[in-house]
Every structure is written in C-alpha cells, then in structure tokens.
Amino acid sequence: MATVVGVRCWSDRYAYPVLSGTSDQPKLVKHGHVQLPVNESRAAQLAAFRTDVLALLTKHEVTKAVFKTAERISKNSDTERAEVEGVLQEACFSHDPSVEVKSQVKSQIKKALDFDGKGGEVFTLFQKREKLFDGLGKTKFDEAAITALAGLV
C-alpha cells in the first residue's frame, strides 16, 4: 500500500498532507502547515526544512513525494519557493533513492485525477472531498491535498 506526501511550498512555509491507501479509498494520516524558522538565516531555514522532511519520510514510511510546483508559464518567478522545492527533492533522494519524487503542475494533476474541467479548477476537488480533508483549511491545504491525491493514482 502506498503512502504519499503531497507538498505545496512557499518561500517561507510549506503545507503537507500524508495520505495512505488507494486513490479510491485514501486515508489522511497526518497533515501540517509549517512556517520555516523565522529567526534563522536562509541556509538554516532550508536545513531545518530538510530535517523536517527526513523526519516525515521516516516516521510515516512515505513511498512517494509529490509537490505542486509553480506553473511553467507563470510570469512571477519565485526563486525562494524553488529553493524549498529543490531541498525537498534532495532530501527525498538522500532518505531513500527508491522514494519516487514528482513535481506536478495543474494540467498533470488534472490528468491524473481524470478531472473534467479546466486545469485551474482542479483544486475545487478539495471542497468535494471534505470528509477526507476534514479540518484542513482550504487556502493552506487545497493544492497540497489535491496533489497528494493525484500522487496516489
């Protein structure tokens, strides 16, 4: 049985749910919305994030990590978000090279979930899965949660 972590990174924080089971019967194992240490240098923030990721992968025996990356046509370049995403990929590989790591944009998530609508609307699935994602705030978790769901497929 797969255990997937879906991650949405920002320049200064990240959100994740850990899902186990199958795409038909997913189960929410753990979730978090975590601020990177506000008093630390950028290098120390990234190091803390890396340690967090390693602990998460170990504790929940994660087999696959999927993260919602910035759209490639985005006009806003967010290099600090990309730094966090880079650390995520490195940490997963360091933890266990067999852990699959995938970056996903909206169109890929839409395809994986067989969503019948525009790519930009795929995250509206979050509200439709309220039983699964009960207690998770939409603005913090919608992208990470739907990305995790796509990772289970």
Binding site: G32, V34, Q35, L36, P37, V38, N39, E40, S41, R42, A44, A48, T51, D52, A55, T58, K59
Partner: protein
C-alpha cells in the same frame, strides 16, 4: 578495546564517571562513560544505552563508538569497569553555559533548543522516551548541539516506571507516580526552554523533594508567570503550553512544539550588563534579514528613582538617541516593572 588515554574527569553521577580521553588509534578526543559494575544490575542493562544510541544515530544525538567491559588501557583510571565510548563535545552542556551567564542569548537558546527537539522527535519516532531531558544533557560544540545521556531511555510509546530523571524537570504526572510518555518528555523540554531563556534561578529548588513533587503536580513549580522582561507573550504561550499541567493540553508531539517556537519572532537579543540599583540592558536588533546587523537598544532602569530610559541607534555605528515616548518616571516599582516588560517585550518581538 579502544586505545584510550584518559585526560580528565568531566562529569559524574550515580552510574559512575565521564572522562575526556584520547583514542590513540585515530587520534581523536572521546567522552568515555565509565560505569562501576556495582552500579548496574547486568551487562545487558549497560549495553542497552549504547545500543539505543547506535540505533538512534542522528545529527543531533551524540554518536556512540563502542561499549565494552573490561580493564582499559591508558593512564587513569585503570581498574576493571564497563565503558561506553562516545563523541566528545568541546563546549560542555547548556547547563555549563548557564553557570557562566545568567541566561542564554534568546536566539541562541531557541536555536540550541530546536536542535534538542529534532533529537527528541527522532527518538520518539523510533519508539523511545528519553526521560531525562534537561540542559545538562544538551551538549554543544561550536554551532553543533546534541542530546546525550540515554541511560534512562526506555522503549515504548508509554515508558516504564516513573521516578526516572531529574525531579525539577519531571512532568506533574511523573511527580504523581505515573509512567513517562512522549508528553512527559515534552514537559521536560518546556522546563528546559524556560531555564535557557530565563536562567537557572527560575527553575531552582532548594529544599524538600516531597514538597517539590507536590508543587510540580499542582503546576506551581516552575512559576508560569515569572519571566525575564524581554520575553514577549508569543514566547510565553509556547512555554506555558509545553509545561501545561494537563498532559492532553500540551503539544501533541515535539515537532509541533518546535514548529510553534520557530514561528515566534525574535528581533532582538538582550544582555544584562549591570545589576544593583541600576540595570543596564543592551539589545542587538536584527537588520532586514534574520541575523544581519541592525540597530542597538539600551535600556536603563533605576529602581531607586523609579526611572526608565530607552535609547537606540538605528544602525551601527551611530549615535544613541533617547526615545522620549518610552522614557519616564513611575509612581511605584510595580508600574516601573510593568513598563519595562512592555517596552522590552515589544522590542524583542518587533525590533522597534
């Protein structure tokens, strides 16, 4: 048998002693825990600590190199004994640091404490309860911080018999005779953080242990309403939640505690330069980025005349200018203290 030359005794306790030694084989310093055979019920118990340390290998947990019974080579001591050979940390423990300074610089305290949290969370993730978390067991060497002394560590989400550890850091339920759990480690971390931020005097107890246990179990020790004047409300909330009398109201796990602490802004590091009738505090504020140099704040408190003065310079070098809006003379020491706490806490939180 490691090729050890003992250099000096660096610690001790009921179990035996800890020595600084040189491993001649690899020309490196080691900390060697020497256990008297009479201090342990069996060789298995002795080996358990080393095995746990080996299993828990982590950047923030002390490294173990070996454990063995028998006579050691070298100069001192040279009697039959059991030894655990571990990583040596140059700068001692955070307890040693607290003996030299009244309290740790706030940012350093939080940084070191976070490292101890990484270690504790890792141990919990592997199913172990440390049961003796305290500043004396958090070792430092330059920028590195490591949790040590897993001699009382037990496996299982709910630990073994209570009564383990150091009473001052023990959770109320442990003081009441209940088993240790993840939540009791979180409480010990909370008391340790309280001590690092505020100083040893805030968690000091001289007197009867039964009375201490009774105070701990009722949440009256350590005091939850006494802090250094620069500690702001967001930081107090983290401390109080970690040290909550009701275990179910503490943080659910160590990561949650660390994440809450790491989100607390610390924009200014304070040092107390003189005590007596006049307190002079100097605060080094952050620049635009964490850790980059910013301005300097200087607080002078004259208790005799009940005066409070704040001076600051926006950048270094620069002139110290009096901040008139925050200065004043107060009718009572209570009002003076309240004003001091409000101003210093504000500067710590906002850097302004």
């Amino acid at each position: 048998m490691a090729n050890l030359v003992y250099i000096e005794r660096i610690g001790g306790g009921g179990f035996g002693e800890v020595w600084k030694a040189r491993d001649r084989g690899v020309d490196a310093l080691r900390a060697v825990k020497i256990v008297e055979p009479s201090a342990i019920p069996s060789l298995k118990d002795f080996n358990d600590e080393a095995r746990v340390l080996n299993e828990l290998a982590h950047d923030n947990i002390i490294t173990v190199y070996g454990a063995e019974p028998g006579p050691t080579t070298g100069t001192t001591p040279d009697v039959d004994m059991y030894v655990i050979i571990m990583e040596y940390m140059d700068d001692g423990s955070l307890d040693d640091a607290l003996q030299k300074e009244a309290f740790l610089p706030l940012r350093e305290a939080v940084h070191r404490f976070s490292a101890a949290c990484f270690a504790a969370a890792h141990a919990h993730g592997k199913g172990y309860i440390h049961r003796d978390i305290k500043p004396a067991n958090i070792l430092v060497s330059d920028a590195r911080t490591k949790l040590s002394d897993f001699g009382l560590c037990v496996p299982g989400a709910v630990g073994g018999a209570s009564g383990a550890g150091t009473l001052v850091y023990a959770a109320p339920e442990v003081a009441d005779g209940n088993p240790t759990t993840v939540a009791t480690d979180i409480y010990s971390l909370g008391v340790s953080l309280h001590e690092l931020i505020n100083g040893s005097s805030y968690v000091e107890w001289i007197g009867d242990e039964d009375e201490l246990a009774e105070r701990i179990s009722r949440g009256r020790f350590p005091a939850r309403d006494e802090f250094q004047p620069f500690v702001h409300d967001k930081l107090k909330r983290v401390l109080r939640k970690a040290m909550h009398v009701d275990a179910s109201k503490r943080y659910a796990d160590v990561d949650e505690l660390r994440h809450a602490l790491e989100a607390v802004p610390i924009k200014c590091n304070w040092t107390l330069q003189s005590v007596g009738n006049e307190e002079r505090w100097t605060g080094l504020a952050d620049g635009p980025k964490p850790g980059s140099p910013g301005g300097i704040f200087q607080v002078t408190v004259r208790r005799k005349s009940r005066e409070f003065e704040l001076r600051k310079c926006k950048s270094v070098p620069g002139d110290m200018r009096r901040v008139n809006a925050d200065c004043g003379t107060f009718a009572s020491l209570t009002a003076l203290g309240a004003h001091q706490r409000a101003v210093m806490a504000r500067v710590t939180e906002t850097g302004k």
